[in-house]
Amino acid sequence: MNKFQVSVNERLGENTYKTVLKNGLEVYICKKQGFKKKIGMFGTKYGSIINDFVDITTNERMRVPDGIAHFLEHKLFEQEGANALDLFSKIGVSSNAYTTFDHTVYFFETIDKFKEGIELLIKLVKTPYFTKENVDKEQGIIGQEIMMYDDDPSFAVYFNALRAMYNTHPVRIDIAGTIESISHITKDLLYTCYNTFYSPQNMFIIVVGDVDVNETVKLIEENIKLYEKDYDKKLEVKEVTKYIEQDKEAICKKEIRKKMPVYMPKLCMGYKLKNVEKEEIIKRQVVCDIISDLYFSKITPFFEAEYNKGILSDPVSFDFEGTSSFSHVVINAESTKIDELKNDIHNYINKIKKEDVDKELFEIVKKKKIGNIIKDSDNLNVSYRRIIETLLEKVDVYTDVEILENITVNDIKSFLNELEDEKLVFSIVE
């Protein structure tokens, strides 16, 4: 019998169960009573910013081409020439996969083929199949994907902001790499990355839906055993060594402007921050989510004024992004009067840093956030996102709910004062 660690959230009427299998694989099950849909997800703590590491099979340090984690995601979701999306589709299950800076996940959604879905998901992720031919072919498809992103103004404005903030940290590189960098990817390099990062101790499985917890863990374990002959003999699990270079404190460039054929210019401002860890990362997310409403949403005099001046049509977004190796705030907006907008936001932030937080408004916003957390629990995708976020930081699943209920105006105030003018960058696409 497996031992479970159970996280309960009474506000949401939801439980999340966690267990660690013998081989080090973490399994999370979020029970959602009454919902038809079930989500099964297999993930690895490996994404685009991890390019420098110790090869687990040779113990040698490696540097691999940019975009390989994403390339691997494409290739792994394939079996002997058949695309995984297609294989799932044939059993009536929809599936997808994506790569981020620090994790890669493969998942399926089903109503009544949960067992078949889990079987196929584990089979796919556990049986890599890379050949020279299928690597060459994928370079064509990913080439089209990269070109699609190159034409996307939102994508360009965001990555340019990252490039302005960071000097050397790999977060400044496109997740998919470049057409040039992916041309260096070979089947052997893919196997090296696979063997290292797709070892069970670096991975996790997440299930969300109305499932039986014990049965599900049994099903997962049985299927994992099919592909790991030494599963029962396993004595120790070896940690994966990843090297992520810390960026220097200063920004790289104050401003990047890019011309693109767009009618609506876009602005992305970034404040580079000092790195924090664990609960502090989740706390920054909650704080920024509140700041976004408290200072930039339609409720604010700032928005009203910008709206009446014809500068803003939709509110500015204010988001925190970070792991233990990078940390920043990104502010996104669009306007036909982009320079006025840029100056207005900049001056406004400097102004609110000096002022007291409006307590009444703060309480109203907090009330909304509590309502949102309840409403969001009607959406199963929110549950798995919360699990991923917290497992990467090794904190309790419902840390965000806990933090939200205890947040104060002082938390807001002190965070605003971490936004420094010297660490501010501007990216514009016009």
């Binding site: 506000r11 959602k32 009454g34 919902f35 038809k36 849909k37 695309n83 297609d86 799932f88 589709s89 044939k90 059993i91 009536g92 299950v93 929809s94 599936s95 959604e109 109503i111 009544d112 083929k113 072919k137 064509g140 498809i141 990913i142 089209q144 994907e145 070109m147 699609m148 190159d150 034409d151 996307d152 103004p153 054929p261 767009v262 009618y263 609506m264 409403d293 949403s297 339609k298 409720i299 604010t300 005099p301 928005f303 009203e304 709206y307 009446n308 014809g310 049509s313 109203i364 916003v365 009330k367 909304k368 509590i370 309502g371 949102n372 309840i374 409403k375 009607d378 959406n379 199963l380």
Partner: protein, 417 residues
């Protein structure tokens, strides 16, 4: 009198209220409707500006209010919606439902009717921005342009936010008339979807609050597919538009002849086999086999009996992509569809339909769309699943032979390095 429908499911924690005004609208009216929806969403007699609205909504535990415009084929729909949490789940069981409903009513019926020109001008700018930026997303624009090419002069061919010319010229007086048009010449549907436990009288309550609403048309009095196109088009027209981007977009505009409402199920399956799933012919051949595209899909338009195929490609591969797509369309006509393709597509549609039960909003959208197609019969998802199950390969091939390509569109890239 209004049409009011309830969908109750206690697994949810919140409730979605949707008030729909569905009406006939030509290009000028569409342009005015877009401005109107935008103006109405920003203030009312009681709430002077967006900030007051937001404050009120935040106090209702962040109720989500939205005014959304949409085309149901040749008809135009303005939806006023609000989503709020059931009292069971709120601190001290605070009940926000009545306030949410009254709020929704006030945003429609308790408006400042002077339509102040300063406010109207600001919203006109907002809509003009939407129109002018429609080319910013190429794939989307490729699809919009194809809708326009294949459906002109039907109202459906007009862009969702109308045209620059009409928006610019709209006056406050015209907007007031359009407001009256919306209130008095629409089919009005109210849908409540979510956890209704503890709200047994919700229908009565809605009818009380919306007692001044009057639905002029019933579902069979409004025609969502006027199909003004004269005669059949046997020649395929190729249209080319230059664009200063890295990647190009190719689209195919297809028309289905002589459809009945039961063809909906067959066409859904046809579309799934052709290009709506990863096991589809287009995904397998254009993307997986030929590496021509990352995105390739086909979309079926229930209200207009058309299908649009779209893909992001390199311009130099235009002829090749065209050939591959044409071959797949021929294969559909010649019944070159494997059992595997057929069954996979069927189960994928059934799974999608079943999944809608997990979304309050999807359930509400499905319901209103069925009301227009089936005139008043309230078709359940289970019925739709049964109908999909009954579709045979022969049905699909029959429908395939009633489908013709009318337009092929290339939005060309010029800056290939």
């Amino acid at each position: 009198m209004i049409n009011c429908y309830k969908i109750n499911d206690e697994k949810f924690k919140s409730i979605y209220f949707s008030v729909n005004f569905t009406m006939n609208s030509n290009e000028q009216e569409i342009s005015q409707n877009a401005i109107l929806a935008s103006v109405l969403s920003k203030s009312s007699k009681k709430f002077k500006n967006q900030s007051e609205i937001e404050k009120y909504l935040n106090n209702l535990y962040g109720a989500n209010f939205d005014v959304n415009v949409e085309k149901f084929g040749d008809l135009y729909n303005i939806e006023f919606s609000i989503e709020c949490v059931n009292k069971k789940f709120l601190p001290n069981n605070e009940d926000v439902v009545k306030y949410s409903l009254k709020f929704l009513h006030s945003m429609i019926y308790e408006q400042d009717l002077s339509f102040d020109s300063e406010i109207v001008n600001r919203e006109k700018e907002y809509i003009l921005d939407r129109i002018r930026s429609k080319k910013d997303d190429k794939l989307k624009y490729g699809v919009i342009k194809t809708e326009e090419l294949i459906c002109a002069p039907d109202n459906f061919s007009v862009f969702l936010y109308g045209s620059e010319e009409y928006v610019k010229n709209t006056t406050s007086a015209e907007l007031y008339n359009r407001y009256l048009g919306m209130l008095n010449s629409s089919c009005i549907t109210v849908i409540v979807s979510g956890n209704l436990s503890g709200y047994d009288d919700i229908e009565t309550e809605i009818k009380d609050i919306f007692s001044d609403a009057n639905s002029k048309f019933s579902y069979n009095e409004l025609d969502y597919d006027t199909h003004n196109v004269n005669g059949e088009k046997n020649n395929i027209e190729e249209v080319n538009e230059k664009s200063d981007t890295n990647q190009s977009v190719i689209t195919f505009g297809l028309r289905v002849k002589d459809t009945t409402c039961d063809d909906f199920f067959v066409l859904n399956l046809y579309n799934a086999i052709l290009g709506a799933t990863p096991s589809s012919k287009l995904f397998q051949n254009v993307r997986e086999k030929e590496s021509l595209a990352y995105t390739v899909r086909s979309r079926f338009y229930r209200f207009k009996s058309i299908i649009i195929i779209y893909a992001g490609i390199e311009e130099k591969n235009y002829e090749k992509a065209k050939q591959v797509i044409e071959k797949e369309l021929e294969d559909m006509k010649n019944a070159k569809i494997s059992d595997e393709e057929f069954n996979a597509s069927k189960s994928s549609i059934i799974a999608d339909l079943a999944e809608w039960k997990d979304s309050k909003i999807a359930l509400s959208k499905m319901l209103i769309s069925n009301l227009f197609v089936y005139h008043n019969t309230n078709i359940k998802i289970e019925t739709m699943i049964e109908k999909i199950k009954e579709v045979t390969l022969e049905d699909v091939v029959n429908v395939a032979n009633r489908i013709n390509v009318e337009k092929i569109f290339l939005l060309g890239g010029e800056t290939n390095e």
